[in-house]
């Protein structure tokens, strides 16, 4: 557990130079907003897990080693209900979205093994969304590492604070934190959604996920949203009619092409 935190801090130090160059004040402030919110959710996770009867070491270990909020809340609920196998299966199902997300941000992690091994652990929805919101590769990298590192620190600090505070921590819902995360994530993908093609895919995917939520176990609806990619097949594949009016007609309408890509991260 301490090896892991050490490795993360070493990496943050190693990457600091390039991150500091690429991350401007605004990016740091934006990332800090998410980091702070994650800290408060970590606080409520810690308090809830302690109230559920889990030992302090297990609560903290889970935050450091699993580092995926949704699955941690789920695991605590299922473990305290006496179904450990369900806790594992449901948690892994909820986290399965990280596989396709990882494919999408593979370029951000690069090909060097240390960066891949540490960076993969920092893969959370927020770091992926922040990276996708940046146009230049350098800024994508900075946003990913900064967000992942910041949330790793605040999430775990929040967990420890929650363990110590116990029931005094309060309910995050009364602060509206449950609205803060969807709104923040939406703001991060909004620049991409200004393209008609992305809007079609995301709209169809989101609708499928919402409709599937009442009938499927948590995690599957979000994975099922990938059927939204079928929207690409409709109205011509990749890029034909969907090029944004203002955008330059990149070859094949490939918004993800690394060179140029000004203002169009995705």
């Amino acid at each position: 557990m301490f090896d892991l935190t050490n490795a993360v801090s070493v990496f943050i130090v190693v990457n600091m130079g390039s991150i500091r160059r690429a991350a401007d004040r605004r990016m740091i402030r934006d990332v800090a907003a998410f980091g702070l919110a994650a800290g408060f959710v970590g606080l409520s996770y810690g308090a809830l897990a302690i109230a559920g009867g889990l030992p302090a070491w297990a609560v903290v270990l889970m935050s450091v080693a699993v580092f995926a909020g949704g699955s941690q809340f789920l695991a605590v609920a299922l473990v305290t209900a006496g179904s450990p196998v369900a806790a594992i299966l449901a948690g892994l199902l909820l986290n399965a979205r990280h596989l396709p997300m990882g494919m999408a941000v593979a370029d951000v992690l690069g090909t060097r093994w240390p960066a891949r091994l540490v960076g993969s652990h920092l893969m959370v929805d927020e770091s992926v969304a922040f990276a996708l919101g940046q146009a230049e590769p350098e800024r994508r990298r900075a946003a990913y590492w900064l967000t992942g590192g910041m949330i790793f620190v605040t999430w775990n600090a929040g967990t420890v604070a929650g363990v110590l505070a116990g029931r005094a921590a309060g309910d995050p819902a009364s602060f509206g934190l449950d609205a803060a995360f969807p709104a923040g994530l939406l703001a991060l993908i909004l620049p991409t959604l200004r393209q008609a093609r992305a809007r079609r895919v995301a709209g169809l995917g989101a609708a499928v996920a919402v409709l599937a939520t009442p009938v499927l176990p948590a995690g599957l609806p979000v994975l099922l949203s990938l059927t939204g990619l079928f929207a690409l097949g409709r109205g011509g594949t990749l890029g034909t009619p969907a090029a944004p009016p203002g955008g330059d007609p990149a070859p094949e309408g490939t918004p993800a092409a690394p060179p140029g890509g000004a203002g169009r991260p995705c």
């Binding site: 889970m62 396709p100 990882g102 891949r116 992926v128 969304a129 509206g176 923040g184 995917g205």
Partner: protein, 102 residues
């Protein structure tokens, strides 16, 4: 038992996280699919936004949360600073709940 749950969940989650970057190198994906990969992440995040804004434990989440997210979305649409988007969303939901809206 608890240790086993945490270790297996942690190892499995890490494996899921690591396989994305590794698979992208090794899978012989056709070029159009490669190009569509960022869209895939946008699609997943949009689905996360929609489900976490509207649902809780498989049912409707109540009005306070989607209202807050909608205010945040409007703020983001008007290109307000990110921190304001987050604060407006949380603040709206908190105030609505304080006023008794569920």
């Amino acid at each position: 038992m608890l240790t086993v749950v945490i270790v297996v969940l942690a190892a499995g989650t890490y494996a899921l996280r690591l396989s994305g970057p590794l698979l992208r190198d090794r899978l012989p994906l056709p070029a159009p699919v490669r190009v569509a990969l960022p869209l895939l992440a946008v699609c997943l995040i949009a689905a996360l936004v929609a489900t976490s804004a509207l649902t809780q434990d498989g049912g409707f989440a109540g009005w306070a949360r989607p209202a807050g997210v909608a205010v945040g979305a409007l703020a983001a649409w008007r290109r307000l600073p990110f921190i304001l988007v987050v604060l407006l969303a949380a603040g709206t939901t908190a105030v609505l709940r304080l006023a008794g809206v569920r």
